[in-house]
Symmetry: C2
Subunit: 303 residues, 2 copies
DNA sequence: GTGCTTTGATAAGATTTTCCTATCATGTTT
DNA sequence: AAACATGATAGGAAAATCTTATCAAAGCAC
């Protein structure tokens, strides 16, 4: 049934097989087997395309419903054991994971030693896909996320600061505002990262043509570039201590209203593990709080 | 899940294994496996008894619902192919099967050559059990049957006649009524057959103490006994031609209002194969009609 | 057309799962 | 005490499922 669901979703044997984590022949065989026992075609394979047959259309909602019920069953079972006692598969976006995880995991280990955490790092769109198909139980990502299937719980705010080279004294001359960011020197993450879009939104969108078009693959490489004087970038507060500590860099807060991103925990609306998620959200909020910078720290980073 | 359902029903490993058609160790292992993956006890095994744990109670309705949905899925698939195209597992009580089947099967074969009929012969209570747990799709039995899970469709009436030895001339002296049946000579089927109870109901219940307590295992043996002068019995009309034809026997209709049984087709209320069942009921009615006796035939049998 | 890519089906062999028979341990009944 | 009933365990067989490798057909580039 999972294979049927996947194939009905993708209408493509290979992609469905990938989604179901099996080889394409295995999926083919199972679909063929299913059609045999049912005694009718479920999919019409015209050349070049796969389409649901009438029978397939009729059965699809039922099968989806069954799969949903089974998943809910698993969740109830997990829930029954107590808060955060069952395996939790958590997705985290790459601009949060490396900073949050080292704080969150020990904290969880301390309070919930039985909990098995499985982590996955990917960009928001991938995580949402994984969440929807039930391969993840929850994800940590930047808001807003709007999706009827999902419940979104805001967890903490993460302000943006400017990271630039230690030699760069220009940024000290006047208070840093969103308008006077030197966009022509702005370095960004590669496409797909929400932080890239947020950075563009923060800095005045009018000058975007002048962008340096590079696209770093991670926060760490991006800041490596910054520290080597190749430009400046927005850095989320939670990343500062980990990244700026051992690099020659200057970190400048914005003047006035500081731009920030809101980070939330997201799960499937019909999930039965509400308590788990609320508890987890609380832990994440506490972990994030420890990553916030004090005044002295900020002054030091400003050099 | 089927095993879980069976065990929750029987609260007994052996009986559950039997119901699920597997060996007891197989069921034990699967339940143990299920408890392991869920991480909690599903059943509490105190000495001498098996009880659903709280977790088990919580999961039971969900699992039943899933099993029900899966069965409904199969039925929809079967139905979609057209009327009476999918395997039909039919249960028939022993006092009908041997007479109806030889007429019904050829008829079905003619009109629905693709149909695969699987027949099972057992007493009503066994058939109902099998129907409820989904091992049969429908049953043919004597009414009344009252069960919230089931739908009952009356199909035909089958009157009772008196069968006695060919030498027995007493029965010819006066018109045969329900009151003057020689109950002390009445032979019956063994316990469990509904025909036994019906025969007792037909003949005045006041004299039941005088019963010959034998209990034949089948209509054929019963009539064998009758033809050897060991007594008399009630014979359903549909059985007469097959049984009385080659035996020395006298068949006498009741005078006045003839006692009869009503035969119905019964299926699970939630089954999706309504059309199949209506069609099948029609075929059964037609088959039964061919077993009805004509006037001349009756006269001949009276000798 | 000839080669190249894509797509789903097929084949063969390995792996995993599930099952069955036989047996055991424990408590119950006679 | 002996026979019985009940669920767990062990060992090996059977069945289902998966993976890799390969194929055939169709679309596409040249």
């Amino acid at each position: 049934m999972r294979y049927f669901d996947a194939l009905a979703t993708t209408l493509h044997f290979r992609k469905a097989a990938e989604m179901a984590h099996v080889s394409q022949p295995a999926l083919s065989a199972q679909i063929a087997e299913m059609e045999k026992t049912i005694g009718a075609q479920l999919f019409e394979r015209t050349q070049r395309s796969v389409v649901l047959s009438e029978m397939g259309q009729r059965l699809l909602p039922r099968i989806r419903s069954i799969l949903r019920e089974i998943r809910s069953l698993e969740e109830i079972a997990a829930q029954k054991r107590g808060v955060l006692q069952a395996r939790m598969r958590l997705g985290i976006i790459p601009t949060i994971a490396p900073y949050l995880v080292p704080v969150l995991i020990p904290k969880l280990r301390e309070h919930y030693p039985v909990l098995k955490m499985e982590l996955k790092e990917a960009v928001t769109s991938k995580l949402i896909e994984n969440l929807r198909i039930g391969e993840l139980d929850a994800i940590v990502a930047a808001l807003p996320i709007e999706d009827d299937m999902l419940t979104v719980e805001p967890v903490f705010h993460d302000r943006f600061l400017i990271a630039t080279s230690a030699n760069d004294n220009d940024v000290l001359s006047s208070p840093m505002t969103q308008d006077n960011v030197a966009v022509e020197r702005l370095l960004l993450l590669e496409e797909g990262h929400c932080l890239r879009d947020q950075a563009l939104a923060v800095c005045s969108a009018t000058k975007q043509r002048q962008l340096v078009n590079y696209g770093a693959t991670s926060m760490a490489t991006l800041l490596q570039m910054v520290s080597h004087g190749m430009g400046l970038t927005l850095i989320p507060e939670i990343a500062v201590r980990a990244e700026a500590g051992h690099m020659k860099m200057r970190i400048i807060p914005f003047a006035g209203t500081e731009p920030r991103r809101e980070i939330g925990l997201i799960w499937r609306r019909q999930s039965e593990r509400q308590d788990d998620f609320r508890t987890l959200a609380q832990c994440i909020a506490e972990s994030a709080a420890t990553l916030r910078l004090g005044q002295e720290e900020l002054a030091e980073l400003r050099k």
